[in-house]
Symmetry: C2
Subunit: 312 residues, 2 copies
């Protein structure tokens, strides 16, 4: 146990850097549970009573707990994909909350991956939901209690500010989408701009990240506003680091999406916590190619990724 939540005066970035050093890991365990592809051991947790939603949510919760217990020791954080829980309704959201709580109990940072973005008052509500709390006439209602969340910047700075403000008030962080790991990134993010020095949409998004990031934390040199940077475009990582010198990068696309951890070394320039390597299916489904038991295969794959990143 690393004591994540003892003080809210330490910034997210400093807390992240400290935990990366303590656990010697930059690996983020993606939690994208598909009820049709859960580990067999999790299915037993569903029992024989209740609705399909209740049983599926119980199995998802057990699957995520088992995955965290197996692969978590090689990781610094988990990244639950909110869509995978929301599709099970209120039962799914309860499983998400249980998964977040379990990860925190295991000393892991929680990055809630919902890619939220909306205008001011709604953006503030998302911050309350993910890292803050909501005042009500019946007392404050605590949100999910994540340590950070992903955000979509299409709506501009005034839509990001309530997310960043809400995160800072909770000593949490925000990872803003800058260039994603899918081929469709070419359709909007890669468009070239006229005037003002040209560049691309994603370079403009990177500038917004830097503007919102402000002064980096004293201990880590990293900001509490990070960037989601697809590891499938390693040729861009050096330019991203140039534009966002203090932002922690969240690098999805390793493993199942084709990215290779060896190609993203520039991300780590401001320190190891500057480059978080996210992997989901390649860990959770490692047993499908190795034939080992799911937990053992997941642990081995997470440890392999940890060593590959740490050796850079």
């Amino acid at each position: 146990m690393q004591g994540l939540a003892e003080s809210t005066t330490v910034t997210f970035a400093d807390r992240l850097a400290e935990l990366v050093a303590a656990r010697e890991s930059q690996i983020v365990l993606g939690l994208d549970p598909d009820p049709a592809r859960l580990w067999p051991s999790a299915l037993a947790a569903a029992g024989h009573d209740g609705s399909a939603a209740q049983r599926a949510a119980a199995a998802v919760r057990a699957h995520c707990a088992a995955l965290i217990d197996a692969a978590g020791p090689a990781c610094v954080a988990v990244k639950p994909q909110l869509a995978c829980f929301e599709r099970l309704g209120a039962e799914g959201w309860a499983a998400l909350q249980a998964t977040v709580d379990h990860a925190r109990e295991r000393g892991l940072i929680v990055l809630a991956d919902g890619k939220r973005g909306d205008i001011a008052v709604s953006a503030a509500a998302y911050a309350q939901a993910l890292v803050g709390s909501t005042p009500t006439p019946f007392g404050d209602v605590e949100g999910l209690g994540a340590d950070a969340f992903t955000a979509n910047p299409l709506l501009g700075v005034d839509a990001l500010e309530p997310l960043v403000d809400g995160a800072r008030a909770a000593a949490a962080g925000v990872f803003v989408l800058v260039r994603t790991s899918n081929p469709g990134a070419a359709d909007v993010e890669d468009l070239r701009l006229a005037g003002d020095g040209g560049g691309t949409v994603w370079e403009r998004l990177a500038q917004i990240v830097t503007r919102l990031g402000g002064t980096p934390g004293a201990a880590s040199g990293l900001s509490d506003v990070g960037a989601v940077v697809g590891a499938t475009a390693p040729e861009h990582v050096a330019r991203m680091r140039e534009l966002m010198p203090h932002a922690p990068f969240l690098l999805p696309g390793i493993g199942a999406q084709g990215g290779r951890v060896e190609e993203i070394a520039p991300a780590f320039a401001p320190g190891r916590a500057g480059g978080l390597v996210s992997a989901s299916r390649s860990i959770a489904s490692a047993h499908e190619s190795t034939g080992a038991a799911p937990a053992a295969a997941a642990r081995a794959e997470a440890e392999r990724l940890r060593e590959a990143a740490w050796s850079l």
Copy 2:
């Protein structure tokens, strides 16, 4: 009751157009419940037992039901803002489900406003959550059962396709963000592009909407892929209609955000259902300026908006 869900062979657009004609309304009632600003009548529904989350969710549910009962008769649809429910956790999601069910029972179309967007497998999960269902070993789990949802296009076409495919499979619709109603729209959406005919980011997003929209429904002439178009920039509405001749427009920003319903007439060119006028706070909080009872003030304001739009 207009019998929304009798057949899944009618497209969302045709169903929408039919209901606009039957109810003589293009008004979308925004549901953005703030637990600190609920109608007094709703607070009693919270009872005296249970957690703060349970009581707040019960009050939010009662507030939304009362607002739907009061203003719904002047409207064609409701638009729950997902953030406002998510911030109450699993209890909030259950209140969202109850609100969706209540609106549908009242014959209203439901537009789930979550502005979701993610890469392929996660996008498919959002479609399952909002308009579809999820196969599990314990049987299919039904999603929210909305008629349409809002989507964020930053991640490009391959991230939108699973949302559109999931919607079409459920005879539902998607409203893609094109240009939003906040000042920050200038930061990314309004950026001018180099080459390829120039234009702006939002014009490129409009082209993506048209590409995804395909052939419009036979009865309405409208597509099942619509666009979110801020009513605070009426000077753009004619150009948007030119780029997206068949897309239904969802026009937020009326009332509290400063847009005026009289300024957006070009949206209605392909028919009345081509321009849906969304209003939230101006209806729910109408009593704060008029001094009338909340339900009466909400009904009067919704009816005023309905007449203003219908007379264009």
